[in-house]
């Protein structure tokens, strides 16, 4: 009974605001309508900015997760003494506020040798930093769970070099962790506002920026876009989960220990 009430409260907490927005977008003058959703079909900006966000999210996930998986494994195997440093570094993005990070990055990248301010590249790099804590935790937990040292040594005794061991033995067994890191990173980028506003702004407008802009002029359409954004992020997450489930043999790693 208590369990059920807790779950019900939790769902209410999560779904109430969403259903509020949903209701707001579906009702117009007391009548049910899909007009605000239909509006998005003819909206070229909607498609373009959504595409921007998806590209940024994909780039961030690929870069952030592969960087952190490799680094964490390398430190785990070869440089144990650096582990506290890595842990600290990986958690810095949690400590530094987004605005501070943005201002710092603008200072650094507004002039040569790397004039990146206003480019999507800088945004991907900044987002990669933001996803490090998630990627680090997920990979580190995975490494601790599979006795990666023994697995790596076993592969090594069978003739496998560093990259081969990493790609054929370590990565497949870290797959559940890598997947969750990817999901978190993806969702993070799809909803990120501050860095996008400060670093790139209108030069490479992202979906959250567009949403903010629409919301001011046309609240009904803005709310509909928010619901769409939620659905697209959710569908993408399901797609990531689905592809990773189909990766060869990945679930065995999770099932063993």
């Amino acid at each position: 009974m208590i369990q059920r009430s807790v779950v019900a409260l939790f769902l209410l907490y999560l779904l109430l605001p969403l259903s509020g927005i949903l209701g707001f977008t579906l009702l117009d003058g007391g009548r049910l309508t899909l007009a605000h959703y239909r509006q998005s079909l003819g909206d070229a900006e909607f498609a373009a900015y959504m595409a921007h966000s998806l590209v940024l999210a994909a780039g961030t996930v690929v870069l952030g997760v592969s960087l952190m998986t490799f680094t964490t494994f390398w430190v785990h195997m070869r440089a144990r003494s650096l582990k506290p440093l890595l842990e600290l570094t990986a958690f810095l993005p949690f400590v530094v506020p987004a605005v501070t990070l943005a201002l710092g990055l603008i200072q650094l990248y507004s002039r040569p040798p790397l004039p990146l301010t206003g480019t999507a590249t800088l945004l991907v790099l900044a987002y990669t930093v933001l996803t490090l804590p998630f990627a680090y935790r997920a990979v580190e937990n995975g490494l601790a769970a599979i006795d990666s040292r023994t697995l790596s040594e076993a592969a090594q005794s069978l003739g496998a070099g560093w990259w081969r061991r990493f790609l054929t033995v370590i990565v497949p067994n870290l797959w559940p962790g890598i997947t969750s890191a990817a999901l978190l990173g993806f969702a993070l980028v799809m909803g990120e506002f501050t860095l996008a506003l400060f670093l790139v702004g209108s030069a490479y407008e992202t979906y959250p920026l567009y949403l903010n802009q629409v919301w001011r002029t046309d609240p009904k359409y803005g709310a509909a876009l928010a619901v769409l954004s939620f659905l697209i992020t959710w569908a993408s997450s399901v797609a990531i989960l689905w592809t990773s489930r189909r990766a060869p043999g990945q679930m065995q790693g999770a099932a063993l220990r």
Binding site: S157, A160, R164, N173, G249
Partner: protein, 363 residues
């Protein structure tokens, strides 16, 4: 020259000396086990041979070639680990074929070889199963097959049976010996289990505190331990510590015992007479001490422990507990608390003269 030679290996971790000056030769086709308690340096030795550790001093030679600087992946040594080290994301067959895929062997050859190996380890039906669907014993069989698949020049086994239960352990160790003999493969086997080492090795290397105590065939290491550590670590031993007399005798707790005929201990030196429990004969004290055997002690039977084929009796001899093994069938012949005679042949005992560097080993 021997096939595998370890030459003066030394290794220190932090301030702890893990190995000091370990030298050993292994002949082609031989199974040599490294036996000792945890922390004796046996695993470090194996890991140096595998290439996972670099010795501070000394070198490893294979067929006369120095392996220093050759990374593990280029040594061509198969290794079986203590913990299940199968790749969880691959089936048993894929695990076995891994080394062959790394070596870019043709797919057909890999399939054939994997099939042969699955048959060799008796798991022909289990090829498509994942490690978590196999029992511990089966996993270690697959790990063995995986190491053998690359036709290793040397097979290294790091306590491969220690995580298994007793019955599987015995079956599998016979299996390992059978396969090793059949393939004529040279093997180095690390274990802390003396029974395992004695039953499957051509030679046993007894190690303690980073040094080799004794190297020899199982019978020799068991029957003629050369150090007190070997004596106490392998099998059970009674240690009768006393002072040597002038004419090949030992004063032990107010009684005079004869030392083995070939022992030459200067009078007045402290010496220990070491006797295996099965070398002592027990007689119920109903009359005079048994004649014909030179060394006789009187004692009281304290406890009996049934060990299956034998019963171990603990006898209190003037405050010191000695162990005596008698056949299990005779266990009722010796009442607890009864007076008994212990007798043994001086020739069945070994004398140890403690030195400054004497080891004090456990059992």
């Amino acid at each position: 020259m021997a096939f595998l030679v370890l030459e003066g290996l030394s290794k220190t971790f932090g301030h702890t000396a893990a190995l000091s000056d370990v030298t050993l030769s292994v002949e082609r086709g031989e199974l040599v086990s490294l036996l000792g308690p945890s922390g004796c340096g046996k695993t470090t030795t194996l890991r140096i041979v595998a290439g996972f550790e670099t010795p501070d001093r000394g070198r490893v030679l294979l067929d006369g070639r120095d392996l220093t600087g050759v990374p593990p992946e280029r040594r061509g040594f198969g290794m079986v680990f203590q913990h299940y080290s199968l790749f969880p994301n691959m089936t048993a067959a894929q695990n076995i074929g891994y080394g062959l895929r790394v070596a870019r062997r043709p797919a057909r050859e890999i399939r054939r070889r994997v099939g042969e190996l699955l048959e060799l380890i008796g798991l022909l039906d289990a090829g498509e199963r994942y490690p978590h669907q196999l029992s511990g014993g089966m996993q270690q069989r697959v790990a063995l097959a995986r190491a053998l698949a690359i036709e290793p020049r040397i097979l290294l086994l790091d306590e491969p049976l220690s995580a298994l239960d007793a019955k599987v352990r015995v079956t599998l160790r016979n299996e390992i010996r059978r396969i090793q003999t059949r393939l004529g493969i040279t093997a180095l086997y690390v274990t802390h289990d003396q029974e395992e080492a004695l039953s499957l090795s051509d030679r046993v290397v007894v190690m303690s505190r980073g040094c080799i105590e004794q190297v020899g065939p199982p019978e020799e290491v068991y029957g003629e331990p050369r150090t007190e550590f070997t004596a106490s670590f392998i099998g059970s031993m009674n240690r009768l510590a006393g002072v040597a007399g002038a004419d090949g005798t030992l004063a032990y707790r107010g009684q005079i015992l004869r030392l083995p005929p070939d022992a030459a201990v200067p009078a007045g030196r402290a010496a220990t007479l070491v006797v295996r429990p099965e070398a002592i004969t027990l007689t119920v004290d109903g009359g005079p001490p048994p004649s014909g055997r030179a060394n006789v002690l009187a004692g009281t039977l304290v406890t009996r422990t049934f060990l299956g084929p034998v019963v171990r009796l603990i006898v209190d001899v003037d405050g010191e507990y000695l162990s005596v093994d008698v056949p299990g069938a005779q266990r009722r012949a010796y009442p607890q608390g009864g007076r008994v005679w212990l007798s043994f042949d001086p020739g069945a005992a070994i004398v140890m003269v403690p030195s400054a560097a004497m080891e004090d080993g456990g059992t």
